[in-house]
């Protein structure tokens, strides 16, 4: 049994965001796997959904996740030019750009929705960016905008 220090105890009681992560099968999911087998620490706040390509991620998915109460959404795919389907991530990038700007325009914290590229060899980078995304979402607090009144 591990003994928690005072500081760790405080941390575990503090609010933790739940982030849904859509990772592409070919790069980011493998990157997450690499981070795992390399024993690189990253926050346990993300729940991973494996998708064939970041181009599969419909803006519906992202907004639906927010309505369903997720505090943040993270979408990750292959670096531009590395897509297994050649252009999936480039098409996705345009959508994400517009979605991000629209969220900002509607006054919804656009930090809840994050996009990143991570290849299969970048376990370190994956862990680092997940840490960063978690930090951003944590700073925004719980997702209340889409909460229903009843």
């Amino acid at each position: 049994m591990t003994i928690q220090t005072e500081q760790e105890k405080n941390e575990s009681e503090e609010w933790q965001p739940k982030i849904i992560a859509f990772l592409c099968n070919w790069c980011s999911y493998a990157g997450a796997d690499l981070a795992g087998v390399s024993r690189i620490q990253y926050p346990p706040n993300i729940r991973i959904v494996r998708v064939p390509c970041s181009g599969r991620v419909n803006p519906y998915f992202i907004i639906k996740s927010l309505i369903d109460g997720w505090d943040g959404v993270l979408v990750s795919g292959c670096h531009p030019g590395d897509c297994h389907y050649l252009s999936g991530n480039l098409v996705a990038r345009r959508r994400f750009a517009i979605l991000k700007e629209l969220l900002e325009f509607f006054g919804i914290e656009s930090g809840r929705v994050n996009f990143m590229w991570a290849s299969a060899a970048e376990g370190e980078r994956f862990a680092m960016l997940v840490r960063k995304a978690t930090k951003i979402v944590k700073a925004l607090g719980p997702n209340k905008k889409f909460e229903k009144k009843w």
């Binding site: 700007e101 980078r125 960063k132």
Partner: protein, 339 residues
């Protein structure tokens, strides 16, 4: 020239062209505007005979985007034996743009369409006038000089046209339909050659400078009254999906209630779908029974697309719509990066 004279001139040239097209059998049917059944309204009309051409009118209330009737084609435009009829369509600038964009999306073939180009002089904002008239009943609306005269049982009020024109029309740079290179014949009457539009988005500056909370409060206040009647969708020439995402129930993407989160989501996704496609006709705002001004959102869309992808919808038939194409050079300043 006064507004009244301008309107008369547009109306005359439109009727002459329609008469010519029908009598020379160049088109089977002309779609245009006719007098509405109640004041402050116009209704669309399909004209097949020369005698009926005088029913066509032009006034500053013609807010309907007629391109809507072509995609999907309404039954009146299909002959059971001949198939698709050749259509002449009274086109103000935004109808022309909508047609060109629909052609770019492979929804229509411009060869079978004749645009009757007219130099649109702007559409008035009905909602603002109705608001000022209030509960009183409007019996007649007409233009006199540069004024819009609204008559009722025991009142008569004048509204200065240039003040009550739609915000979008004030900013509009495409008054008459653009000419398409490979389809020179498709536009007759008043058309213009457009290569590139220099848009001025300064009207958005004020809103964009607000803080996140202020933006949310404003959007909340604006959209709160939305009843989700989908009139905006029905009026939009670009909304032609067989099954709209809000009607889809397997799986149910979004709830059908009028709770604020659901309304916001509807408008958010609707905006996503119109990115790079909206032709700024303002039909959505004009038909809204609750008087919601959606132009703010559509203007923003235009701005994003112009700044990011340097694209203006409905000008060039050969440039692919931005959401169906991609480029390695797109900006990606919004992506997470290592410190």
């Amino acid at each position: 020239m006064s507004l009244e004279a301008e309107n008369q001139e547009i109306e005359d040239s439109m009727r002459n062209l329609a008469r010519k097209l029908i009598s020379e059998k160049e088109v089977d049917v002309v779609i245009g505007y006719s007098k509405g059944t109640i004041p402050m309204s116009v209704s669309p009309i399909m004209i097949k005979k020369v005698d009926d051409v005088d029913k066509l009118i032009w006034s500053n209330l013609c807010y309907v985007n007629l391109a809507k009737y072509l995609v999907p084609r309404i039954p009146q435009l299909i002959d059971p034996e001949k198939g698709n009829l050749k259509v002449g369509i009274v086109s103000k600038g935004c109808v022309g743009r909508a047609l060109i964009h629909l052609a770019a999306e492979n929804q229509i073939n411009l060869e079978n369409i004749k645009m009757i180009g007219i130099p649109c002089n702007g559409i008035i904002n009905r909602k603002r006038i109705e608001k000022e008239i209030g509960e009183r009943e409007i019996l007649e609306v007409y233009t006199s000089g540069d004024q819009i005269v609204v008559k009722g049982k025991d009142f008569e009020e004048e509204f200065l046209y240039s003040e009550y024109i739609n915000e979008l029309c004030k900013k509009c740079k495409v008054k008459s339909p653009p000419i398409v290179n490979d389809y020179n014949e498709s536009c007759i009457g008043d058309c213009q050659e457009i290569e590139n539009i220099e848009e001025d988005f300064s009207d958005l500056d004020e809103f964009e400078a607000k803080s996140s909370k202020e933006k949310w409060d404003y959007i909340k206040e604006t959209l709160e009254t939305c009843t989700r009647c989908y009139a905006c969708r029905e009026a939009c020439p670009m909304c032609y999906c067989n099954l709209c995402f809000v009607d889809q129930n397997k799986p149910v993407w979004f709830n059908k209630t009028t709770d604020l989160p659901d309304i916001i989501v509807f408008h958010l996704i609707r905006a996503m779908h119109l990115a790079g496609r909206c032709v700024a006709c303002g039909a959505c705002s004009s038909v809204c029974p609750m008087g919601i001004d959606l132009n703010l959102i559509t203007r923003k869309l235009e701005k994003i697309v112009k700044e990011r992808f340097n694209f203006t919808s409905g000008i060039d038939i050969n440039s692919p719509p931005p959401m169906t194409s991609f480029s390695m050079k797109d900006n990606e300043e919004f992506m997470l990066e290592e410190d």
